[in-house]
Symmetry: C2
């Protein structure tokens, strides 16, 4: 916002580029040129390069040495692999969370779900109804809180990486599915988790993710750009 020529710091630029890739500012497959990015983020090549190489390390952008960086491309195969891996991993984490989670964890997931339920899913100002940023944040927070009880930094770290990749896909297939009761699905997962029914909770989580992936895949093959 401030147009003052302040020194940019890597962490901020990194976070912004990441948010922009996740948020759909840069299209999948699009090349990310230094000149353009430096201007956009008001930083020098060094800090932009560091941000991009970190993002490349986590797979959100790809790096072709001596050629440049580009936003990760989306393919059906990759989406399926990602979905499968994510389901398996989160199943594992959720199971542990249900087994180990204490009252603190229960409070957290109840709170996160409440916030999600009370956040409007769509923007009402934009002409084409779009999923609101607030909802995306609350949604990620709810799913994150579910796993947080598993008490395994490694598992949580991996799950976060996979969630980011999945969010990237979701953003680009904003097919409005009016029939779908996402709210009810979340509530059902929450209830099973609170009831400490690991089999039921993980099965509901699996269906939830699979359903989303199917919608995304349909959108992907239809537009087919």
């Amino acid at each position: 916002m401030a147009s003052t020529k302040q020194r940019a710091n890597t962490e901020a630029v990194y976070a912004q580029v990441r948010a922009d890739v996740l948020g759909g500012v840069h299209r999948p497959g699009e090349r990310l040129k230094f000149s353009a990015l430096c201007e956009r983020y008001g930083a020098s090549v060094s800090v932009v390069r560091e941000a991009l190489s970190r993002l490349a390390e986590q797979g959100l952008v790809v790096s072709e040495p001596r050629i440049g960086f580009a936003v990760r491309a989306m393919t059906v195969d990759d989406l399926r692999d990602l979905t499968m891996t994510r389901i398996e991993l989160e199943t594992l984490a959720l199971r542990k969370a249900i087994e180990r989670g204490d009252v603190d964890w229960e409070s957290q997931i109840v709170a996160a779900h409440h916030r999600l339920e009370r956040t409007a899913m769509f923007t009402d100002d934009d002409a084409p109804p779009r999923v609101s940023d607030d909802w995306e944040v609350a949604h990620a927070a709810f799913h994150g809180s579910l796993l947080s009880g598993c008490d395994s930094p490694w598992l949580l770290g991996i799950a976060t990486t996979l969630r980011d990749a999945a969010e990237f896909y979701r953003r680009w297939s904003q097919i409005v599915e009016p029939d779908r009761d996402a709210c009810g699905e979340h509530r059902a997962i929450l209830e099973a988790a609170l009831a400490r029914d690991a089999d039921l909770a993980t099965e509901r989580l699996r269906e939830h993710y699979q359903r989303t992936a199917d919608i995304v895949e349909r959108g992907l093959t239809e537009q087919d750009d």
Copy 2:
């Protein structure tokens, strides 16, 4: 090899720093100063910085903004979490590999195992017997090949990250365990995989990793530095 003042390229420096961290050149917890690294690798700060930030992204080194980088510290808690996560994940991958793997995969694991079996485990030139680099490479290749049949880039990528972290621990607790029959353990895993017995193979893999982790943990608490 040529000591000529050629331009260093990031990829090479990254690979070398990574190998040195994994190989034990830099001690756990040790600070990584730019001046020293630039000299050691004959590169400028930019390329060293990029290498370190990528390594930080995958958790092998830690970054404290404005303070510097340091090699990841080792703790018993982290080791246990890592081991558990790795076992769960590789179990998943191995199960899929056994289910989906074709003759090509079978050939690969047989070949990798043969090489491992024929590689000397210890160096005979060094005064204190140390696990040889060749064996480390062959060992990583064997375990990698076991999972390679699972046909899931995401799963394989995560497994590689975890394997690197585990290797880091292993390097620093080179307790010679003369009684252990590592060779036999590998053969047993191979045989179960070839027999397509997923339950047996994953159980043997789990025991194999758990045994290693226990040894590492013992070394960790004993030296206690």
